[in-house]
Amino acid sequence: MTVDPRRTALALGRFGLGARPGDLARGEPVEEALRREILAGTVPLPSGPDLAATPTLLAALQAEEQVRKLAREAGPDVPMPAGPPPPPIQERVYRAEVAARLALAQAAPTGFVERLVWFWANRFTVSAVRGSQLRVGAGAFEREAIRPHVLGRFRDLLLAVATHPAMLIYLDNVASVGPSSPAGQRRGKGLNENLGRELLELHTLGADGGYTQDDVTALARILTGWSVQRDGNAEGLPGSTVFRRGAHEPGAVTLMGRTYLDLGPEQLRLALDDLAGHPATARHVALRLARHFVADDPPPALVARLSQTFLDQDGDLARLALALIDAPEAWDPVQRKVRSPQEFLVAATRGLALPPDPRVVMGALASLGQPFWSAPAPNGYPDEAGAWASPEGLRTRLDVAARAGQLAAGTDPAAFAEAVLGPLATDETRTALRRAESRAQAIALVLMAPEFQRR
């Protein structure tokens, strides 16, 4: 196969995290590089001293909050330690988690697998803005529930997500109790249907997936008892997922026309397996994937093809990713998608080979409205141009690009344009570059060019 640099530039933006210097000059067809990343079957795991397992993080948070409470109660007589107080654990861990993701994104060969991780973490949002437990645990959720399954089976991903402590906390399942269970009878507690509803609406079937309020209630019943361990005991570490039989609603439950006997924790696994294999789930996943990678309004033929692959391959997400890059519709030469703020910033640091300073990138992401794992609602960040290419969104991108141009003023603008845009650069962009009043401005212009803002 001959290597077409235009196709390489297009694909590195659309499916990956953007070209690094030298990427467009490679002799290998870009399809091969993308395929190799998927077929390798390994998803890189971020690591670092603060990136501990969820129970460890939640226990440390609990301990630190306890110490702070005691210090407050001790009153002002106790001498304060000199200097500014260290950041609370949730801030330290959140920053370390984001820094680790930025390092992975910078180093990824094409970034296709990282993009899939981002995509699934957003589809299964837990939001770090919802309190200290989620601020400390959002990154761990992505490491523990998302990454191990991104190239595996959808049903394993779904089970891992639904039963992870962060999701159980975020969508209130920790507090949901079967009204007829011993705990429900004793404490007068009952159902909270938040997780049950979002599992159907956002995570599997989709809002038009044909379920009713009764199905929402049924899944909420099945989910009762799935909670987070409070104190360490024989059942597990504090902060780990626990199935409390005493809080689980007893009895068989009918969900989407199927009856699930009360087999304890197995009841949820069976129900989620069926939801994961439902044709409505296949359609929903296919639509979201195509919308994310290809076009806000993706070609119906592409969605149908991906949906069929999902069903034929039993929800194998690696096969689904390969089907995406094998689909001719996914290679439309028109760049229809506007890069999200995360995609834009990472493409900029990769293209400029600037080691990303986590504080700067996090500040820019906050200004642009897309800090990591911080969507305002469980449906995640939007995936449409209208949301990101807004007047203030673009105005802020100008500010970010101007700043990046200053930071990278040692880079040769023409070489930079060649490295990240290559044959995609239009005559207008090349002319604007030549007329730029400074190197910094020329680099900022490349970052703001339509060919870079879109993918």
Binding site: A175, A207, L394, R395, A444
Partner: protein, 405 residues
């Protein structure tokens, strides 16, 4: 982590993600037409996540109310007593500004209100509320944008006085009529010169990006004069946002129609009563009301603020001292242009047989009827235009008259 079931967000954490002001950047010709014609300002506040109307405005006179809501019900007496409205309904104690305006007959509650949507998905519910369409699945344009488009052709805000921008425009204002936005800035601004160069590139190649950036570049003397100090005190905070937004709207050549979206109302667990999570959210909303009333004072007689949410929450407290997705809820109207001091409610009752599906406050007033009544009285839009363009398929939903003073 004192308890995995508990969640104590700071107000900042809940509301900090909240929103930005989006506004229509043109002045309707009616503003100049006749010296006595009203130059009205309409602000729509969208509360995303489904406000619990039964806690915001509690039907203390309903015999079933207290029993449905152990742990979160408001009371007439004691600390944190609800603020009396009309003997039957009482206001949440975190809304003192609203209570003051109600006493001054400048605030009104519509209770047992809902859109035409009867399912319980936030996202479909928000789409219906904001698109103004009879059902979900229409996200091309919002009703406030179509309302703007239906007004007599206006004049653009003169160059150099337009607004900065907010990050994600809410659906309610998306559509063919040009929209500006504003959010408190956080990064130093790039030079205008650089902005013009990029705009030139977009104009040659990418009309969509060009249109958005052109609006974004209309950096405004108004915002520069006002909001900066407010922002400095409370960067990214709700109060700074509200004050900056109010200043923009208050200006002579400021936008006449604006929308503000606030997230975080999805109180599934530990909702709280007179104090707690919802009380914190309502307190933030009351601060927005106070900022608008104070800064818009010169325009107040011509100002109407409509506060709506996608649906209500279950009448009965759930198993986790919160409430799940429901149907009927409240809408608020406030401003000097409002004939207030009233609770409008065809009260359906909270008895077991009166609840919708045995769980929700049954809706008796369509929020489109309120919005249509407001639009008719403020801007003189005809029923045919309102049913044809602004709220398609709403012929059967008659505008509520007499909302405007």
């Amino acid at each position: 982590m004192s308890d995995p079931c508990e969640f104590h967000p700071s107000r900042r954490a809940v509301l900090g993600t909240a929103g930005a002001l989006f506004a229509w950047g043109a002045i309707p010709r009616t503003a100049y037409a006749a010296p006595r014609a009203r130059d009205a300002r309409l602000v729509v506040v969208v509360l995303r996540g489904a406000l619990d109307g039964l806690s915001a405005v509690a039907p203390l006179g309903d015999p079933a109310y207290a029993d449905l809501r152990p742990g979160i019900a408001l009371t007439r007496d004691g600390t944190g007593a609800a603020l009396p409205l009309d003997g039957f309904f009482a206001l949440h104690p975190a809304l003192p500004t609203f209570a003051r305006l109600y006493a001054a007959r400048q605030a009104l509650v519509v209770h047992a209100a809902a859109t035409g949507y009867r399912e319980r998905s936030h996202f479909d519910g928000q789409d219906v509320l904001e698109s103004g369409q009879p059902g979900p699945g229409h996200t091309a344009s919002g009703w406030l944008n179509r309302l703007v488009a239906a007004l007599p052709a206006g004049e653009g805000i003169p160059p150099r006085t337009a607004l900065g921008v907010g990050v994600v425009p809410p659906l309610i204002l998306r559509g063919p009529a040009p929209v500006l936005g504003w959010a408190p800035p956080r990064l130093p601004r790039a030079s205008d010169e650089f902005g013009r160069r990029v705009l030139g590139l977009y104009e040659a190649r990418d009309p969509m990006l060009a249109a958005a950036l052109a609006h974004g570049l209309d950096v405004d003397a108004l915002a520069k004069g006002g909001p900066k100090e407010a922002v400095a005190k409370d960067p990214g905070g709700l109060r700074g946002l509200a004050e900056g937004a109010a200043r923009l709207i208050a200006a002579d050549d400021g936008p006449r129609i604006a929308a503000l979206a606030l997230d975080g109302w999805d109180t599934h667990a530990n909702e709280g009563g007179a104090t707690g999570r919802l009380a914190g959210l309502l307190g933030g909303l009351d601060g927005v009301f106070a900022a608008f009333a104070e800064i818009l004072a010169p325009r107040w007689p011509d100002t109407a603020i409509l506060v709506v949410t996608e649906f209500g929450r279950t009448a009965r407290v759930n198993g986790t001292t919160g409430t799940d997705h429901g149907t009927g809820t409240v809408a608020f109207l406030l401003g000097g242009a409002i004939r207030g001091g009233r609770v409008l409610a065809d009260w359906p009752g909270l008895g077991p047989a009166q609840l919708r599906d045995g769980r929700d406050l049954a809706p008796t007033t369509d929020v489109r009827a309120i919005a249509k009544g407001l639009a008719a009285d403020l801007f003189g839009l005809s029923p045919a235009v309102l049913a044809g363009r602004v709220f398609p398929g709403s012929e059967g939903v008659r505008p509520v008259g007499g909302l405007v003073a």
